[in-house]
């Protein structure tokens, strides 16, 4: 729990998130227009999406499938009957003057997910509901000084609105929640989780109260925050803002605010006087959505392995620590990559090379694991070379650098550079003899009790052999010779 020290005492915050996740589908929720990102303006719009008179919505079966699968991923209750309602408001990018959404009877009811916190513990966060709804179009305000440009390509694309219980108590928990939710959606394949392209956006509901107080404070809603970093920053700013108002004797106005990504502050969006009144009512164009229990059960059985189950399995099967397993399963592609590397290898060693060396390199290159310059097969081969003592762990790092640059296979690099570990006892023996002869004075010092010099001899022999002497063999031989 995050505690904030104010002027008059300690404060805590209460946070709930509403996440809008764009459903992965070829066509829109109620029309046959394409959902591909980045098309020319208004080229992926049907007469249904543009709300021409007489057009009727017909629901896309795949979107229903995705919502049900996601519901199972959130351990939630699936409602076999749900209802579509009209949410009425006026805005230029909402051609019908209403959004088709679900209000009192959503497709998915209560569930939960377990978030992984930075200190290694986990916490269960309740899910209130998940419902299906249409996205709106896109308004561009910066193309002209006097006009707004409207593109309806996104209008009618299917969204899942996933609402959490107000059970998070700080920015880290909110970030962990979004990360876990994104991972689950990606594993299920119901949303690509791409926050930059707007496939996932969060509304943050936040209130503050004095530490230990049971009563909730008045909350504000921060709309459409589109990255985990911004969610954390908006929470920190907003909590501070509310505390300052209350401590100065003021009261919080329940309002909608937005996160200004350049000024790093939240500011009021809609005034209280324009309080939301969406005049929801059941959409007369759409009958209730009824699902067959057996069909729903088939979807549950066909679910892929989800992050928490995969984490458990990686720990069991490969002997990984919770920390490494959590890091790997956060991204399905990373977990798959790891399993390909670990095939027939030592799991812990493989995990180390993926999470430390490879992730470090990808970070520097600014690349996703799907665009890794080193393939899983290549990294597995490198781990194999360490395991069979062809090269030492230290030389392996040099090989890794060359792999990054050239894309060559590790065995070929080792061969070409002559980096094989010296396991020939005779050669190591000769190298040791040469060093000891060169440093007769130090040998004498060592024998008179200066034990620390052992490290010096090891270093010298390593240097003379270009780092290729097998460290264990070298240690053994050197000990014998110096005794």
């Amino acid at each position: 729990m995050t505690i904030i020290k104010g002027r008059t005492g300690e404060w805590e915050m209460v946070i709930g998130l509403e996440v809008h996740a764009q459903i992965t589908s070829h066509s829109k929720l109620f029309s046959g227009a394409s959902t591909t990102f980045g098309a020319d303006p208004n080229h992926q719009v049907s007469l249904v999406d543009a709300a021409f008179p007489g057009m009727l919505p017909v629901i896309n079966k795949q979107c229903v499938v995705q919502a049900v699968k996601t519901g199972f991923g959130l351990n939630a209750h699936i409602n076999l009957e749900s209802v579509f309602d009209r949410k009425n408001y006026f805005y230029p990018d909402l051609p019908a003057g209403y959004q088709i959404s679900q209000y009192q009877k959503p497709i998915v009811g209560k569930g939960y997910l377990d978030i992984d916190l930075p200190d290694g513990t986990s916490k269960r966060i309740g899910i209130t509901r998940l419902h299906l709804e249409q996205d709106a179009g896109k308004s561009l305000h910066d193309q002209s000084p006097k006009d707004t440009y409207v593109d309806l390509n996104r209008a009618g694309v299917a969204l899942m609105e996933i609402v959490s219980e107000p059970e998070m108590t700080g920015p880290e928990e909110a970030a962990a929640y979004v990360k876990k939710l994104r991972a689950i959606l990606q594993y299920i394949g119901s949303c690509d989780g791409n926050m930059e392209e707007g496939s996932m956006r969060a509304d943050v509901n936040l209130s503050v109260r004095r530490k230990g107080e049971k009563k909730l404070g008045t909350r504000c809603e921060i709309k459409n925050v589109n990255s985990i970093r911004f969610i954390m920053a908006a929470i920190e700013y907003e909590a501070q803002r509310q505390i300052e108002i209350v401590e100065a004797g003021g009261t919080i106005a329940q309002e909608t605010r937005l996160w200004d990504t350049t000024k790093h502050e939240t500011r009021a969006l809609r005034s209280k006087e324009e309080a939301h009144d969406y005049r929801y009512f059941p959409d007369p164009d759409l009958l209730p959505l009824r699902l067959d229990a057996a069909w729903v059960e088939d979807l549950r059985r066909a679910l892929p392995e989800l992050p928490d189950a995969k984490k458990e399995r990686l720990m069991q099967q490969y002997g990984l620590k919770a920390y490494d397993a959590t890091t790997l399963v956060a991204d399905q592609a990373a977990a798959d990559f790891f399993e390909a590397v670990a095939k027939g290898r030592d799991g812990k060693l493989a995990a180390n090379w993926v999470t430390v060396e490879l992730f470090g390199a990808l970070n520097k290159l600014g690349r996703e694991i799907s665009h890794s310059p080193i393939s899983a097969t290549q990294l597995s081969e490198l781990v194999g070379l360490i395991e069979d003592n062809t090269i030492s762990g230290r030389i392996a790092k040099d090989v890794f650098e060359v792999m990054l640059e050239t894309g060559q296979n590790p065995a070929a690099i080792v061969q070409e550079k002559g980096w094989q570990q010296m396991t020939d006892m005779g050669a190591i023996d000769a190298a040791i003899d040469a060093i000891l002869a060169q440093h007769a004075d130090k040998v004498a010092e060592y024998k008179s009790g200066k034990d620390k010099l052992f490290g010096f001899f090891v270093g010298q022999v390593m240097k003379a052999t270009g780092g290729k002497a097998n460290p264990a063999a070298l240690n053994d031989l050197l000990k014998k010779k110096l005794s």
Binding site: S25, H26, S27, S31, G32, A33, S34, D40, P41, N42, H43, Q44, V45, S46, L47, V48, D49, A50, V58, I59, N60, K61, Q62, C63, V64, V83, N88, F90, Y91, P92, S139, L140, H141, Q143, S144, P145, K146, D147, T148, Y149, V150, D151, L152, L269, R270, D277, R279, P282, P284, L286, L287, P288, L289, R290
Partner: protein
């Protein structure tokens, strides 16, 4: 069954509902509109006199399941049609007066 006359709506509610629906109802029209809406509501409220105890609510007169379609792209790509009636366009965008908050 007689026609039940309910008290007419007040002008405040009329003004609020009109604003939500973006309808221009001037103050001198409000009283007349309140009377008309009140009559419509009173007419509909006759339904309250029917005893529906134990009857399951239905969404429509056809008690069918919602028809579903396959996830295929077979529509769109008709920007010219979509934009045909727009008062102003630019490079296939609709152009409207600035609406930034």
């Amino acid at each position: 069954m007689g026609f039940v006359q309910y008290a007419p709506m007040d002008t405040e509610t009329v003004a609020r509902v009109a604003r939500l629906a973006r309808l221009a109802v001037s103050p001198d029209q409000q009283k007349a509109v309140a009377g008309e809406l009140g009559q419509i509501l009173a007419f509909v409220e006759q339904l309250n006199s029917v005893d529906v105890t134990g009857i399951k609510p239905v969404a429509g007169v056809h008690d069918d399941a919602l028809r579903q379609r396959d996830d295929v792209v077979n529509d769109g790509n008709c920007a010219a049609d979509i934009l045909q009636n727009a008062p102003q366009t630019m490079a296939d965008f609709f152009v409207v007066p600035k609406v930034v908050e």
